[in-house]
């Protein structure tokens, strides 16, 4: 593996990690879950990206989580 390829792999790994840590991959995970349960069944449409993020923060409104001291 060349140096450039190694750097690329490392950068991709870092990007994946930061995305996961910040929770940016939440919608992708939701989509994957939805598809695995309902398939592409049009009767149960998945939330759109915008709907999903709204729903996510709105759920925190009714189910708050503490942060530690």
């Amino acid at each position: 593996m060349s140096v450039a390829a190694a750097v690329r792999t490392a950068a991709a790994g870092l990007a994946w990690y930061v995305k996961g840590l910040m929770g940016e991959d939440a919608y992708e995970k939701y989509q994957a879950h939805h598809e695995s349960v309902h398939g592409t069944d049009a009767a149960v449409p998945a939330m759109t990206e915008r709907e999903f993020w709204r729903d996510q923060t709105d759920r925190q409104d009714t189910n708050p989580q503490g942060r530690c001291c």
Binding site: A26, T57, G66, R67, C68, C69
Partner: protein, 760 residues
């Protein structure tokens, strides 16, 4: 939420966990794990011998060799080597004998999967999440205050305490909650300890939450009062967060990393701009705020923030906080390794035995162990470990890496905070951390007071204080109590040696203040919200309307009650003629440790009910220690006849002086101040009594449950029913050879993905 089903008490039958034969193995046979561990190659032996030797050498350098100074690098090595050994051997022992995770069982993230709250998350990502959720201002503040007793007691407690107590608690609570579908500590207490123990645990959690929020807010007030620069830059986080919230809501939903980077750049601009603005006349006048108005400002902020929708303020602030936290802690670790500061503080100072230290009163036992709570043993973690994390775990065996390993990381943060605090001049340390009642709040007063302590090697001059204040861009650093400013000076001192030189000290100082204030304010906001829901839930038992959390009036009312509760304690701390933080901080530590005792008591009852008495000591030893420490500390706080230690002794002394018609007494210079002391000590004393009573009830009910289990040879559990798993993932940070082989089988499958959620 909550339990879907549970095995009735007394049921023992083994659930059927036969896996789907069409899938590659979902779990490695335990014998394979055992064989991998028992396989000692010469290289492995050499590595562990090296770790043990380096760790041993570091401890010798810290504890035995008595030179003029000790290098900070030994703290780092002693900590890391001890953590590695504790993780590899002790947590493994707990896993093998006590918890016995079974990867054939699906975790809640799998059998309750909804793609939102319950979602299997990569173990390395979840480790970061969990760490960011547990690590806050606590591990940064406690060690700073405990540094007055010398470096050794704090270091030993942080490192040894975490291995045998703190990390054990986090690991156990996480595991037990995961086995119960992610149930909260309060629910588990009710299941395991019955109505009385459960109710006591709930009330204790609620009051402890109030105290913790109040004292965190006090730390922020102390750090920002009379600092125009700090007030401006921390105040700017509010519009920055609002902007980020709107950006994510309306403009680019889900672009979390992008907006966090934008927010971070704005934060840095706010820090730099704060310096410029504090330098102008109008800026200094406008943002120079005294303690009391600032405290009231924070109370108003706390109320508004807790009723605003999450997306507007809390969520974006959370992103910023995570970003800053991981970044700054990493940066500090690197800087300590590069700079390797020399430490001039004695191993054990005179205050450890005399108990007359000006920072926090009381002798090493038990007060060291309550001053340093977070970092060694923190009860608050039990709320996190039974909150979000158990709902995201992919495989059972990963609880060891995330629960035990995550807490080791926090302990390391505490060690770094200790090193940063120890690296500054000892005279400056005492000038910053002694209350204004002792220093008079002036440079001359501080110099006279600190030099009168008669500490060897300490010779404070007024120039040292004015120069340091000038370096960090503050008008004064005298009596900046609460730990945060001291840590910031230490961090600035270390960072300027890596980047920027002394010209950058003011930036690094305010960067550190910002970093702490940011997550304290998040904790205040989130803590108020959680407390409000707990209160609504409890009130709902009497007035059913309160159960409806979308009822606006009820939500505002309960939020108001919680804010008033912590606000009252905050105002009390701010106006306390005795100094505030030094009288209240022990209450914070005691509260946190009592919560730990409650969590461990619940764990003990669970272990006893499984009939695993042979390994009960794993829980019983830290529980006994936490119970002895906190109950002794509480009793001293209630009954001690030394006024600086006992709340009621102080109360009696001031009451007597008032009755005798005196107009000044001790550090209180007016009748109002004396009355304030009488009032404050009474409140603090009563709080101590409430805490210790509740904790004793919980521990007693746990002992009762344990005794009952012993007598009846119980083998019962409140776990959710076992469901066979259909996914695979390695358990530790690195996949082992056998895990890699199994993972390869999964990766080779032609289906939609390597994992497939269970069909409903």
């Amino acid at each position: 939420m909550g339990a879907t089903s549970s095995i009735p008490q007394g049921a023992t039958e083994e659930p059927d966990l036969t896996q789907d034969p069409a899938l590659p193995p979902v779990a490695l046979d335990p014998t394979i794990h055992d064989a991998e561990e028992a396989h000692w190659t010469p290289l492995k032996i050499a590595i562990w011998v090296a770790i043990a030797l380096l760790g041993g050498l570091s401890w010798v350098m810290l504890a035995v060799v008595r030179g003029e100074t000790v290098n900070a690098i030994w703290f780092v090595f002693a900590a890391i080597c001890t953590y590695l050994i504790g993780y590899r051997f002790y947590s493994n022992y707990i896993q093998k004998h006590l918890l016995r995770p079974d990867d054939r069982r699906a975790t809640p993230a799998e059998y309750k999967a909804d793609g939102k709250d319950y979602a299997a998350t990569d173990r390395r990502v979840l480790f970061g999440h969990h760490f960011a959720a547990i690590a806050g201002a606590g591990p940064l503040v406690g060690p700073v205050l405990a540094a007055q007793m010398g470096y050794l007691p704090g270091t030993i407690w942080i490192i040894v305490g975490v291995v045998f107590a703190g990390a054990v608690q986090d690991y156990l609570v996480l595991f037990f909650s995961m086995r119960r579908g992610g149930r909260s500590l309060g629910q588990m207490a009710r299941d395991e300890l019955g109505r009385v123990g459960g109710t006591a645990a709930l009330i204790a959690t609620l009051t402890i939450m109030v105290i913790i929020v109040a004292i965190l807010a006090l730390v922020v007030v102390n750090a920002l009062a009379e600092s125009a620069w700090g007030v401006f830059s921390v105040g700017m986080t509010i519009p920055i967060a609002l902007f980020m919230g709107c950006y994510l809501r309306f403009f680019r939903p889900g672009k979390v990393t992008e907006i966090s980077i934008i927010g971070f750049v704005l934060l840095i601009a706010a820090i730099v701009g704060g310096g410029a603005i504090a330098g102008t006349e109008w800026g200094a006048a406008m943002f120079h705020i005294d303690k009391l108005p600032l405290a009231i400002g924070i109370i108003v902020y706390g109320f508004v923030a807790a009723i605003l929708p999450v997306w507007l303020l809390l969520a974006p602030r959370d992103y910023l906080s995570t970003f800053m936290k991981i970044g700054t802690i990493g940066m500090l670790a690197l800087a300590i390794i590069i700079v390797r500061p020399e430490i001039f503080v004695p191993a054990v100072s005179e205050f450890a035995t005399s108990g007359t230290g000006p920072v926090v009163s009381g002798q090493l036992f038990p007060f060291l162990f309550v001053t340093i709570a977070c970092g060694a043993l923190s009860g608050f973690h039990a709320l996190i470990a039974s909150g979000t994390t158990p709902k995201l775990i992919e495989k059972e065996r990963q609880t060891r890496f995330i629960g035990y390993g995550g807490m080791l990381m926090e302990s390391f943060v505490a060690i770094m905070a200790l090193v940063a605090a120890l690296s500054i001049d000892r005279g400056i340390y005492f000038a910053m951390n002694s209350s204004p009642a002792l220093t008079g709040g002036t440079v001359e007063g501080a110099v006279t007071f600190v030099n009168s302590l008669g500490l060897t090697g300490v010779n404070l001059t007024p120039e040292m204080l004015t120069q340091t204040a000038k370096d960090v861009g503050e008008a004064s650093i005298v009596s900046r109590t609460g730990g945060a400013p001291t840590l910031s000076v230490g961090l600035a001192h270390i960072m300027q040696q890596v980047a920027g030189g002394s010209g950058m000290m003011a930036f690094w100082y305010h960067f550190a203040i910002m970093f702490e204030a940011l997550f304290i304010l998040t904790a205040v906001d989130a803590g108020t919200r959680v407390a409000r829901f707990m209160l609504q839930d409890s009130l709902g038992n009497f007035f059913p309307k309160f159960k409806d959390t979308s009822w606006r009036t009820g939500a505002w009312l309960t939020t108001g009650i919680m804010v008033a509760a912590w606000g009252a304690v905050l105002v009390m701390g701010v106006t306390d003629p005795l100094g505030g933080i030094n009288t209240l901080f022990p209450l914070f530590g005691i509260a946190n440790q009592l919560l730990a005792a409650i969590a461990l008591a619940v764990c003990m009852a669970i272990v006893a009910k499984r009939g695993m008495f042979k390994y009960l000591w794993i829980v019983a030893v830290p529980l006994a220690f936490a119970a002895v420490v906190t109950i002794t500390a509480s009793i001293l706080k209630i009954f001690s006849s030394v006024p600086s230690v006992g709340y009621f002794a102080q109360n009696a002394a001031f009451s007597k002086a008032l009755a005798a018609g005196e107009t000044s007494f001790g550090t209180a210079t007016s009748v109002e101040a004396m009355e304030a002391v009488v009032r404050n000590t009474m409140v603090q004393g009563i709080l101590s009594i409430i805490f210790v009573t509740l904790a004793v009830i919980v521990i007693f009910t746990a002992l009762q449950a344990t005794w009952h289990a012993w007598r009846t040879h119980a083998n019962a559990t409140n776990e959710d029913l076992a469901v066979p798993s259909r996914i695979f993932a390695p358990s530790g940070l690195m996949a082992t050879r056998a895990e890699k082989a199994t993972q390869a089988e999964w990766d080779a499958r032609p289906s939609t993905g390597k994992r497939k959620a269970r069909e409903h």
